[in-house]
Symmetry: C2
Amino acid sequence: MKLYDLPASPNARRVRIFLAEKGLEIPMVPVNMMTGENQTDAYLKKNSLGRMPLLELDDGSCISESMAICRYIEELHPSPALMGSGALESATIEMWQRRMEFEFLLPIVNIFRHTGEMWKDRMVQIAEVADQERKTVASRMEWLDSELNGTQFIAGDSYTVADITAQCSFVMGKAALGIRIPAGLKNLNDWWNSVSTRPTARV
Amino acid sequence: MKLYDLPASPNARRVRIFLAEKGLEIPMVPVNMMTGENQTDAYLKKNSLGRMPLLELDDGSCISESMAICRYIEELHPSPALMGSGALESATIEMWQRRMEFEFLLPIVNIFRHTGEMWKDRMVQIAEVADQERKTVASRMEWLDSELNGTQFIAGDSYTVADITAQCSFVMGKAALGIRIPAGLKNLNDWWNSVSTRPTARV
């Protein structure tokens, strides 16, 4: 088993943190997107969309999509559970994971793509999209702060894949776009201070 | 258990088809978004984001996000399996489900939001976004056609939640936006003819 990795990608970081929380180490193959390593025939055979991360199994099977990779790992190594156990807990964590994806990760990636130098020649950048998404992220931070009132982690009392998605979103927002959690959002800042100081946060 | 439903929503339709494929009937509560029924205090207590579909359990627990609802139902009623069994099959179906979501459902919803009359006063509509997303959908249809070469369904030989996501995307694209599968894409048309004539397709 090996993981094709894009070091700066928030999606790839989600999988790396997930593995670290499980205490697993698997061989990593960094893929250089800038030089087109993800567009070679060999790579496109593994993932026809040319994206990372991608998990290749020993029999040659390939799984792309970070959450699909995490689910595979969770099935093989259920402890510690990061995607829940039992119908209601699993569904609740999936709900929160998706909320973090749609309310934070997608808008932040969208801002990056519509403003980033590296995307200039790869797509039509629309500045107004980035402006709107910045407003979305700001309002969703207020929403998440109110949701965190009384709970330690995003989906409840345990650290889960929903926290991983949220923290990777905020890492990208801060590092690439200068988006910071406003000081007045105490619950969200407490959560951030807790998750960003975990030993697995910087993999 | 009851399902808060938004009849025209592709996400709500995903859950309805999923239930129908399982042979399940649960009480439906239609929510009228146009009159703001999803923004009442009572509804926002169930889902603070005010979205549908939403599954309310008999103990008052609420699950939003269509794929989280489907996962809950799958755990309770595993047969017929629509999300796979075993680590590799489950992960492969999740990969394809997410690909259908990101490559078709999100762009199609985005076109609808950026051009639809009902969204005019609810967001900043940017015509260029819709133009770009139309190009994305057209190119992804060619991609999916090539991926369907030799397989009957999106994730392999069985009908799964990945087909449901794709078909709900295409239903919305066709009904609301006039997006049709080009006649030259034989595999994709064969797939569409197969899934859209299932007895569960029109719930």
